[in-house]
Structures are given as C-alpha cells and as structure tokens.
C-alpha cells in the first residue's frame, strides 16, 4: 500500500481494535420492550384519539425501530462513521417524504380535474 491508502488503512484499523459485545440480558430487555410496544400499538388502535391515532401508532413504531437500530443492530456501539450513514438514511428519507408531500398538498391534482381540464383544452 502506498502513502495515503496506507495512512487511511491504519487509522481505520487502529480506531476499531476493540469490539463491543452486547450482553444477552440487554437483548432480552429490548425484546420484551418490543413486545410491549406491539401490544400497546394494538390497544391504542382500538381507542379513539381522533387525529392522534396515526401519530401514536407511528410514534410507537419509531420507538421500536430506534431500539432495534441502537441495540440489535449495534448502532449505539458503532463507530461515528456508521452512525453518520444511519443519520443520512433518515435525513434523505425525510427529504423525500417532506418535499413530495408538500408538493402534493399544494397542488390541484385530482385526476378528475385533470381529465376535465384536458376536455376543456380540446374544445
């Protein structure tokens, strides 16, 4: 390996010399939390919270997903580089969702409108 490549290789190699082993007790705890979360989601779905039903459902799902990422997928014990990749995934997803939904919200887009608009245009 030459110059820069060698330097990079070494800095990565040196940074990750110790591996964090998550104990089965933690895994069991997360597993139980996920089961409780599932039960809670089902229970909440049968209550009438008006517009907040979906907020609660997605909130619980996001807490569950976060637990899976942090502990089952070891993100909490991963190097900063990996954590940055995860944050990027969430960020890009947020861009895709928010910009597209903002566009749909602010546009007259019902198919029937388009069809009638086309009909007017033709005459």
């Amino acid at each position: 390996m030459t110059g820069i490549a060698r330097k990079w290789g070494e800095s990565i190699a040196v940074a990750e010399h110790s591996e964090h082993i998550v104990s089965p007790v933690v895994y069991m705890g997360i597993f139980l939390a996920l089961l409780v979360g599932t039960g809670l989601t089902v229970w909440a779905a049968f209550q009438n919270f008006g517009p907040f039903n979906i907020v609660i459902a997605l909130g619980i799902a996001s807490i569950k997903a976060t637990l899976v990422v942090l502990y089952f997928m070891h993100a909490r014990y991963s190097p900063k580089r990996t954590q940055l990749v995860i944050v990027c995934a969430i960020f890009w997803l947020a861009i895709m969702l928010s910009l597209t939904l903002a566009d749909y919200q602010t546009r007259n887009r019902r198919l029937s409108h388009l069809v009638s608009a086309a009909a007017i245009y033709r005459t």
């Binding site: 190699a13 895994y27 089961l35 039903n53 990749v85 995934a89 969702l97």
Partner: protein, 245 residues
C-alpha cells in the same frame, strides 16, 4: 483474490475487514430505506385521499394473525442477535442453533402470510376483475346471534362508506394493491433472508464462526433486523388504520 485465512488481501486486519463490510452493509440498507420509502410515500398520499376505502380494506385484515406475526418476527430478531452474540463469545453450537431458530421463525412468519393471502383470495379481495368489497357481507353465513349482529354492523359500515366514497370499489382496490405490493416486497426480503440464513447455517456447521471472524453473521443480522423494522411500520399502517368504532 489473495487471502490469508479469513483475511482478504486488501485489508490489514480482521477488525478493519469487518468494519468495512459492516459499513458496506449499512450503505446498502440506506438504499433499501429509500426503496421502501417510495412505497410508504405512495401509501401515505393515497391513504390521505381515500381514507374511507383504506379503512374498509384495513378492517378486513386479520388483526390476530398480524399481531402474532409481529411477535414472531420480533422473536426472530432476538434469536438473530443471539446468534451474533454466540459467535462473538465463541459458542459455535449455539451459533448454529440460533441461526436455525431464526430460520424457523422466519418460515412461520411466511407461512402465516400465506394463510392471510389465501383468505384474501377466498374473499374476492384481490385487485382485478373479481374484486368485490361486498363479497364477504353478501356471502357470509352467520351461525350465532353475535355473528348476525356483527354482519349487520359490517353491512351498515359499508353502506355508510359508499355514501362518503361512491367509488369505494376502485379505491379499496388501491388499498389492496398497496397491501400486496408492500407485504409482498417485504416477504420477498424475508425469502432472500431465509436463503442467506441457510448459507450461514451451512458455514456455521463447519465451525467457521469464531470470536475473531463472524462478519457474515453480523451483516446478515443487520439485513434481518432491517426487514424487521420495515414490518414494525407496515403492521400499524396496514392493519390498524381504522379499528376504533
């Protein structure tokens, strides 16, 4: 490719090799997030526009089977995480055991999914010419008084839904198209995961996974947990849209 034992030529140490593989897997998972994200986006827009039809569609799903499947998948994530742990602490037989358990639970999930899909076929809820949201209400044979009352409620609900959304037949098909696309894509990922697990079990039976070298278990684990996360969102979004009445 040149390699010394478990270490491929382009890496200096096993740690660096594992680190690179894990990072690569995470980057693949980012693309997967955006891949599934597109479907969730389509779902959100249509659910917003045709909420009544989506509620009617969602209420035909079997909530018991859905909840059981969620628990099964979470348990499979636990056994997968335990397989990684077993490899890290050098318990070779446990690695194989936990991998087999994960594969078994994954198969149970897919089996239950097959039962659910079969029900949708029987109830004429597959998008296409035979589709009919009224089929269940029109063809059910209630035996008990409770069932008769339930059926009357469902009929009433459908009537009300038709008043709010006259074209409920096509909009309910939209719901079921998304239901099959999303759960189908998820199931496809499960099948790929099952294939990867079979490969891991074969390698594990040869005693290859040790505290020093367990990268394949770790990165298949990442994939498996990701598929679990997709289901964690799919379950409330598809099964629990409009349950409170």
């Amino acid at each position: 490719m040149h390699r010394t034992g478990e270490l491929y030529g382009q890496f200096q140490t096993l740690e660096q090799q594992k680190e690179s593989s894990t990072l690569g897997m995470w980057i693949f998972l980012v693309t997967e997030v955006l891949f599934f994200g597109g479907m969730f986006l389509t779902y959100t827009i249509n659910r917003h526009d045709y909420f009544t039809a989506f509620g009617i569609g969602s209420n035909t799903l079997d909530i018991r089977l859905g909840t059981i499947n969620t628990a099964v998948l979470i348990m499979s994530s636990l056994t997968m995480a335990m397989a990684v742990w077993s490899a890290q602490v050098g318990k070779k037989q446990l690695v194989t055991g936990f991998l087999i358990a994960t594969l078994a639970l994954g198969s149970v999930f897919l089996g239950i999914k097959v039962v659910e899909y079969k029900q949708k076929f029987d109830h004429h809820l597959i998008p296409g010419r035979g589709f009919d949201v009224w089929y269940l209400v029109d063809n059910a044979q209630p035996q008990t008084e409770i069932e008769r009352k339930q059926l009357a409620d469902e009929r009433e609900e459908l009537h009300k839904a038709t008043l709010t959304d006259p074209d409920i037949q096509s909009h309910a098909q939209l719901y079921f198209s998304l239901y099959f696309a999303m759960t189908g894509l998820h199931a496809l990922h499960m099948i790929v995961g099952a294939g990867l697990l079979i490969w891991l079990i074969k390698v594990s039976l040869r005693g290859r996974f040790t505290p020093k070298y367990n990268t394949p278990v770790e990165i298949v684990g990442l994939y498996w947990h990701f598929v679990d996360i997709v289901w964690i969102y799919l379950f409330p979004l598809l099964y629990l849209i409009d349950r409170h009445r």
